[in-house]
Each structure stands twice: as C-alpha cells, then as structure tokens.
Amino acid sequence: MIELSDVRFRWHRDAPLVLDIPAFEVRAGERVFLEGPSGSGKTTLLNILGGVTVPETGRVTVNGVRLGDLSGAGRDRFRADHIGFVFQMFNLIPYLSPMDNVILPCRFSQRRKAAAQQRSESVKNEARRLLRHMNLDANMVAARPASAFSTGQQQRIAVARALIGAPPLVIADEPTSALDHAVRTTFMDLMFEEVTAANAALLFVSHDPSLATRFDRQVTLADINGATA
C-alpha cells in the first residue's frame, strides 16, 4: 500500500534533514503503529504520503501510484480518492453538521462517492451507517453543527469521514492525544473495528506506546529514519 525508498526531506535548503528514510513499507490492509517523540518528523512523513509535501529525493508509492509522477492537482485528487485522514484535533468544519462533514470527501472524489453509493444506496445512508457504527445518534448528527459535539464525538465523526467511500488507506495523526483515557479506549475500539471492517490499511501515528499492542506491527520512526533532527 505504501512504499518509500530513499526519501529525504528538509524544510529549507540549508536546514538539516528531517527525514532520511531508505525504505519503509505498509502492506494492503496492514495496521501499523508509528511511534516517535514530538518533533521527530511524523507529521511531515504523513504530509509526504498525502502528497501535500514533496520530498527532496526518493520515491513515494501509494496504492501502486508514484506520487512523483503526479502534478500538484493530481496528488490532491489522488489523496481525495485514496486516503482518509484523521488528525489530533480540528478535524471538522465547525459550522457544518456531522452528517455534512462525513459526506464531504464524496463531494471531492467521484470514486469515493460511487463506493459509498454502492455500499449503502446513497452517500447519506452510508454516512449514517458509519456514524451509527461510531456510536453516534442518527437523530443528532444532522441537526446540530459539528462544533456542538464533544471532542471524543468529534474524533469519531472524523473517523467516519476518513472511512466513507472505502479508501484503501487511513492515516491517523495522533487522533487520541486530545482525548482523556476512558474516551480514548472507546475511540480506539470503534476505530479499529471499522477500519478492519473496511479492509483499509491503517497508519497510526502516536507518541504514546501504550496504544501499540493491538496493531499488526509497531515501528519507531527513529529506526527507519536516518536523520536525527
């Protein structure tokens, strides 16, 4: 699903390397826990995988497509079609309802729209289904803006959005950092369940090693990254 080779990245020409990754791979459907201290370059790596940031050298292949071969707009379209993202916080557009937030990727990607329709007849039905699976009340999610929901609820809504239209890859960047312990466990359970049900590969980034146990594989960034910032 993900293949990196000889990827190097730095913010400025004179700055030290942030990333220097000779090889890194995530297989289809694999759930990988990527660990590393704050500031070690995890988010930077995810931005490269999403095609938002372009490495200085090296090859990035996602779902069989070499991102380097795509234009900027092409990479944006590719991201819309193939990757669902969940971030630490501020995942949702505050004034849209959870429902509209979840539907959003289907408005930028025909592919995910078609997949959602195939799964549940309509995009709305699929959004409702995912939200229900993420333990969110179907009556509540359409009426109020996303900003009216708790942080834990918002993170679960974000997972539903990442999963709609069945992208083959879900990338989560410290999605539990803003959650307290009790909520965190529920969140991890629900997320795991749904990602598994969707058969998506999961690249989960965190600096909290205690979450690592349930993953297929645990990777420490320092082990794959030659650059020591």
Partner: protein
C-alpha cells in the same frame, strides 16, 4: 463539477455561519449600489422626461432673458417669467409667411397648487410631446367659452374633478390663502389623457379667460369698488394686452435659423427665440457638472462598500485557516481554496446588488408621488435598463477583482499550511 458545487456549498454555509458580519457587508454594498443606480436613474429619467415633454415645436419665443429660463418656464412650468411680451408682437410674428401655427402661453395664476396656463385651441391641435404624440381628451372637449377650462390628467385625478365641475382660480402661484378670482368660476369642459409631462399638472384656460379674471385687478390686488360679474365681463373685449410666451411651428424646419435670427432682432420689443432642442442641450451642459460630481461620489461610495468587504474577508482569513487545512486534507486543491474566496466575494457583491436594487425600487415607489407633485418630474418605475445592468456587472467585476487579494493570500497560505495548521 461536483468539486465546484462542493466549494460553492461550503462557501455559502460559511457565509451563513458568519451571517452578521456578512449581512452588514452586504448592506453597505447595497446602500452604495442603491445610490449609484439612483443617481444614474434620476439622470436618465430627468433627461428623458425633459426631452419627452416637447416635440414638433420649432421655436419658443418670450421676453428677452436666458434661453434655459425661457425653456423652463414655458414648457416645464419651472420658475417664472421676468417679463411679458405684447400681444401685438405675437400677432406680428404669427402672421409671418414661414409660420404655420403658434400657441400663446399666458402664465401666472394657479389653482390649488397647480399652475394655470392661458392658451388657445391651437394648443390642443398642435402641441405634441414624446414621439410626436398629440394631446388627447379623456373626457369632454376643448374650452369654447371664456369661463371654461381643460384639466390635465393629474389635476383631475388629484382633485377629483369631473366635466361640469366649477373651479376657482387664485391669483399668483401660492397654494392657498391667496386672493381668489372667486367671483368668476370656470367650468371644466374637458380632461386630457395622461402624458407623463407637465401638461398633466396644468389647468388650461383661454388667454381671454386670463384677461377676464384680471379686468377688475390691478397689480396684485382687487381694485376697490370695481367688481364686475362674469356676465358683464363676457361682453367686454377680452383680447389680451400681453402674454408670457408662445410656441411656433414653421412650414419648413429649414427656415428655423432665419426666423430665429429675425425674431431675435425684432425691432419693436426685445424678444428671445430659442430652438427647444438646443436649449435642452444647454440645460444638459449645465447639469453635466452636477451629474459628474454626483456620479463620482456614488462611485466612491461603492468603492467604500467593496473595501468593507475586502476588510471583512482579510480579517476572516486567519480564523479560516483550519477550515482551509481540513479541506486540503479531504483533497481540495489550493486553487479551490482561492476560488472559495472569489465565490464568496461574488456572492456578497451579488447579494449587495440585488438588495441595492430592491432598496432602490422601494425608494422609488415611496418617492415617485412626492417627486411628481413637488418637482413635476415623472420618474417611471420600470425594469433596469441595459446601462443599469452594465453598472451592476461592473460592481460585480470590481467585487471579484477586490477578492483576488484574499483569494491569492488564501491560496498561498493553504499551499504552505497543507493539511495541518501550525499555530
């Protein structure tokens, strides 16, 4: 296509989310648009209304004064004549070989705020307005007797007069409380169809009628002890000694300049002859400066409204960075983010234009009767014309142009921020 629809949808939701600031911005633009279109409308309609008031008249002749002044009081009933001209001079010119018809005009009296004009039957035969349209009677016929009157449509409508009603004419132009010629009432013999010109607001009587009501008057007051009833007056010679002005129709347009020259050099009395079209042009020239100043002010006010929008959008840029990053994560291109601001500006400006139009038409509906009664100008309420649409298009384009600044900033920022905002 769906991406664009999504961007538009998000823009609209975002605008609704910020509805108070957005509404104020829209309102400021609406007010400025109303002003701009209002100035343009008044300018056009005033011209049209003036230009439509007289047609087919080759010359207007009055006492020597300014040509614009003569045009204004003789045709538009605005202002007053400083001097009269003698009936004899009028007769001399009317008898010229190149003159086809003449219409005498005698002003100075009023009826309940409407001006009274002494004239002859020639008025109903030869006076034309708009595209060579003749006066037509809605009811009745021209005056035949000295004490008969023909009312303009607005006079009859406003005061509720019908054929056969008797009206009293006041001396001078005041509305009420003035000395009235109440011993000699006039009978309404005819009511004209509406014309959209000052004719509608005029009470017409014969020049003899004007003489008749003034026989026992001298200057501004009744001669003491001298009071004649209508019957006695009717038997007198009522040929006027003087009139205010007269209109001339020539046999051939080609002789207009010659006639003009000769009348202006009339020996017995200082006269002024004008070509109505030329005098109108002079009037436009006079109005041009005021027009330009008003137009410039209106344009500046629109620029102010658009600057308000620009300020609002730039201020929102920071608080919307997260929103922009989220959209990027979902797959929006930086150009979509820029487009969002463009769409937003178009939306606000378009709403401002629409609201401005609505305000303008409301104002016109409210002000139309006032302008008509106070200024004698008929402002028609019709659909915006091409020029007005062009102005609105220009405002919209300026709004779009102004928004390129925040759009470009948003584009660059979202390119730099990517999916995550570092705050």
């Amino acid at each position: 296509m769906t991406t664009l629809a999504a961007i538009i949808n998000i823009s609209v939701c975002s605008l609704i989310n910020r509805r108070l600031t957005v509404f104020l911005t829209v309102f400021a633009i609406a007010l400025s648009v109303m002003l701009l279109l209002g100035v343009e409308k008044v300018r056009q309609d005033a011209k049209l209304s003036f230009a439509n008031t007289i047609s087919g008249t080759d010359l207007i002749v009055g006492a020597r004064s300014g040509s614009i002044q003569l045009l204004l009081y003789s045709v538009f009933r605005i202002g007053n004549a400083t001097n009269n001209i003698t009936w004899r001079s009028y007769q001399t010119i009317a008898a010229r070989k190149d003159v086809k018809w003449t219409i005498p005009i005698s002003l100075g009296d009023s009826h309940r705020g409407f001006r009274v004009m002494g004239t002859s039957e020639a008025y109903f035969k030869h006076y034309s307005y708009g595209q060579n349209r003749q006066l037509r009677f809605r009811d009745g016929k021209p005056f035949e007797d000295v004490f008969e009157t023909v009312l303009g449509a607005e006079v009859a409508r406003n005061l509720g007069y019908r054929i056969g009603d008797k009206i009293v004419i006041a001396h001078g132009l005041g509305t009420a409380g003035f000395a009235k010629h109440d011993d000699k009432p006039f009978t309404v013999s005819g009511i004209l169809e509406p014309t959209g010109t000052p004719v509608d607001r005029t009470v017409h009587v014969s020049v003899e009628g004007i003489t008749a009501i003034h026989v026992d008057w001298k200057g501004g007051s009744r001669v003491p002890g001298m009071s004649m009833d209508a019957e006695a007056v009717r038997k007198m010679d009522l040929t006027p000694r003087s009139i205010t002005a007269f209109m001339v129709g020539l046999n051939s347009r080609l002789s207009a300049f010659r006639a003009l020259r000769e009348i202006n050099n009339f020996r017995r009395e200082p006269l002024l002859a004008i070509l109505p079209g030329v005098a109108l042009q002079e009037l436009w020239g006079l109005m041009g400066t005021a027009e330009a100043a008003l137009g410039a002010v209106a344009i500046l006010v629109v620029a102010g409204g658009l600057l308000g929008m620009l300020t609002m959008m730039l201020a929102s840029l920071n608080e919307r960075r997260r929103e922009m990053a989220i959209l990027r994560a979902i797959g929006a291109q930086p150009i979509h983010i820029g487009a969002m601001f463009l769409i937003e500006a178009l939306f606000i400006t378009a709403l401002g234009c629409l609201l401005g139009l609505a305000l303008l038409y409301s104002a016109m509906i409210i002000l139309q009767p006032v302008v008509e009664t106070q200024l004698g100008l008929f402002i028609p309420i019709d659909m915006p014309r091409l020029r007005e649409w062009l102005i609105l298009g220009l405002v919209l384009a300026s709004g779009a142009l102004a928004s390129t600044i925040p759009a470009l900033l948003a584009y660059r920022r979202s390119l730099a921020d990517g999916m995550t905002v570092r705050i």
